[in-house]
Amino acid sequence: MSEPAASPAISPATTPQALAEALAAHGYIVDDALAMTVYLALRMQRPLFLEGAPGVGMTLLASGLAEVFDTRLIRLSCYEGLDLAQAAYEWNYPRQLLALQAHGRSAADDAAIDDLYRDAFLMRRPLLQAIDAAAERAPVLLIDEIDRADDEFESFLLELLGEFQITIPELGTIRARHRPIVVLTSNRTRDVHDALKRRCLYHWIDYPSLATEVEIVRRKVPGLGEQLRRRVVAFVQRLRREDLSKLPGVAETVDWAEAMSHVADAGAGALEPATVDATLGLLLKYHDDIERVRGPLVEQLLAESA
């Protein structure tokens, strides 16, 4: 009944700054606030609860962490009705039924029934994989879009995050040898229960600052000239101040920057309103939004963000 051992390979996280640099080396840029929260989550062995608008890179942080710690990323995407069978483990029922039929005549003895619930028939889903004692080192467990799951799953998760063990009635309790690095994300389509948040360190991820976003684009789209890169990001940042149904996320900025690297005249380093109009679909995903921005507003925003 000992506590799960500390995550080993925590060396890249000796200070928040070192962690930020390690993440940056793997292409993930964080500001000092997020670096501190991640650092403390690792040190204090708490799950990390990330909330923010879609497209600010919450999921990417988890894969960035997995790369930094050179460990496995185990991802569980949540949806309503997600249950133990999909999240933790499931028995291979068809095989069990076959085994039962084979045993048929001599069955009803306990040995036959025990034989049904052995490891070979167990299908490991993400949560069980994550705490599986066989893992050599702590994996990164990404529980994505927890806001899409329902109350029942939240209460189960609460238990798991407290103990890091899963009890399978037929097999016994499986305990994590290494406590996984847990990242939960939420797009806030629903308020997640406070009890769950209490176990975690919370961080709201905002859209990145101009400098940070320029840096992200520099890494993701190296082919784009510096001047144009700055114009592209400035335009997106200006666009986010408009009253739109869905603001462009960082992923959209990167997509658009990539598109610009193909269509824009790299030498000129300027954004033409016509080019922007023609490619707005990469930034805005609602027809109403595109209609609103296209034309005069694009010109105005370009002028303002120049």
């Binding site: 500001d31 403390l40 708490r46 009705g81 308020d191």
Partner: protein, 420 residues
């Protein structure tokens, strides 16, 4: 006030200050902060700030209050937090302002309304019979109190939806393999019966957007009491009020005691009994809250007389977006109970094309009808909506649905007032 950040931080004191300001900070959070201080450089103010924020804040809305209290507690200017929008001073005691609503309520409230005695309750019951069909606008303060008490008993029977979680079914449904195997194992491998599962039924979330502008003044206090009752009874309710701006009052109305709840809500509302810009407020709702509260097939109640000083086109666009996201939009209009009323108000006309049910809410009976009807809302099919003809039609005063196609399709003609 403690001076600059130093090693001997008053963790407990700071946690208490946050708690007093309304943040959900308890001993576990304070302990987490103390632990975090061990992992950082406690002499660097920015690190202390970030560590405190990571361990003590769990909601984006609380960041503004947190920043201000941190600055006050640890000295110095409020730390830079990026360019997040300034937020309502919900919990800040220094900025608490009593608004028109509180004054208005104090003026109108009878002392008797505060505590309810048994004898009074009996007397009220017989009076209620008479009050059933009396327009709220014509009621005396004493009668309004009686109505408010009756409203507390009101249960809104919100319609159900099939969730994607499965529960055991008596018959029908999908095969429940785990159970079949378990049963078979118990019976020596023989499959004697096929266990099945079916989707679990859940209540739909309820979102209420109530107009508290000047033209609705007569109904506002009752409305808030009604909202309080609904929020208390129905777990997934998100009440909002609007006039010139939109205010979410969910946390306030979750307070159990009605007086305290309305008092807190009143502090939130800055635009009580003022103008109306429904379109703007619905846009604000769409931008700030819709994602979060309209999931899971929510039913939206809009309570307003439709007097709008804003741009009807903007209102229409906002309603269109709302209609796409909500399971159903029910518009409750107190004027609909008046004889001869036709929705020729500009805002109302703009909104009608997008609503599913158009019902009166002007007396107790209409409230009871509503409570009953919400449980039996028919399923909405198709997104195509016929535009509302601008000239008033016969049957409108009865709250007939705005679309004949809809009425023909649905098993319960939506929106017809249940007559005795």
């Amino acid at each position: 006030m403690t001076g600059a950040a130093g090693p001997g931080h008053d963790v407990v004191g700071f946690a208490r200050a946050l708690r007093d300001a309304g943040l959900p900070v308890g001993t576990p959070e304070a302990a987490a902060f103390a632990e975090a201080l061990g992992w950082i450089d406690p002499l660097v103010r920015r690190e202390v700030y970030l560590a405190a924020r990571a361990t003590l804040v769990r909601r984006r809305e609380d960041l503004a209050v947190f920043d201000e209290l941190f600055a006050r507690f640890f000295g110095g200017p409020a730390p830079a937090r990026g360019r997040a929008a300034p937020l309502a001073p919900r919990h800040d005691p220094a900025k608490v302002f009593r608004t028109a609503l509180v004054a208005y309520m104090a003026e109108r409230a009878e002392p008797a309304a505060r505590e309810l005695e048994v004898s009074e309750h009996e007397k009220a019951a017989s009076e209620l019979e008479l009050l059933q069909r009396k327009d709220f606008a014509d009621c005396t303060p004493a009668e309004l109190d009686a109505i408010a008490r009756a409203m507390r008993e009101l249960r809104l029977d919100v319609t159900l939806r099939r969730s994607r979680r499965l529960v055991r079914a008596r018959r029908g449904g999908r095969l429940d393999l785990p159970r079949i195997v378990r049963d078979a194992a118990r019976r020596g491998g023989a499959v004697l019966a096929l266990a099945t599962r079916r989707p679990k039924l859940r209540r739909r979330p309820l979102v209420v957007l109530a107009d508290i502008s000047g033209s609705m003044e007569l109904y506002s206090r009752l409305l808030l009491q009604f909202l309080h009752g609904v929020t208390q009874r129905h777990a997934r309710t998100e009440p909002f009020v609007f006039g010139t701006r939109l205010t979410r009052i969910t946390p306030q109305l979750q307070i159990r005691r009605v007086d305290a709840a309305l008092d807190h809500a009143g502090r939130e509302i800055a635009d009580f009994a003022g103008g109306t810009r429904i379109g703007e407020c619905l846009h604000a709702f769409d931008r700030l809250h819709a994602r979060r509260v309209l999931g899971r097939g929510a039913v939206v109640l809009i309570i307003s007389d439709g007097w709008d000083t804003g741009d009807p086109a903007r209102l229409s666009a906002a309603m269109h977006r709302l209609a796409r996201r909500a399971h159903r939009i029910v518009w409750l209009n107190p004027l609909l109970g008046r004889a001869g009323y036709a929705p020729d108000v500009r805002g109302m006309a703009a909104a009608l094309a997008h609503i599913d049910d158009f019902l009166p809410i002007h007396d107790l009976r209409s409230l009871h009808d509503l409570a009953h009807r919400l449980g039996r809302l028919p399923r909405r099919k198709g997104a195509v909506r016929a535009p509302w003809p601008h000239k008033p039609r016969a049957g409108l005063a009865d709250g007939a649905p705005r679309s004949d196609t809809r009425a023909a399709r649905s098993p319960h003609p939506a929106g017809r007032r249940g007559e005795p």
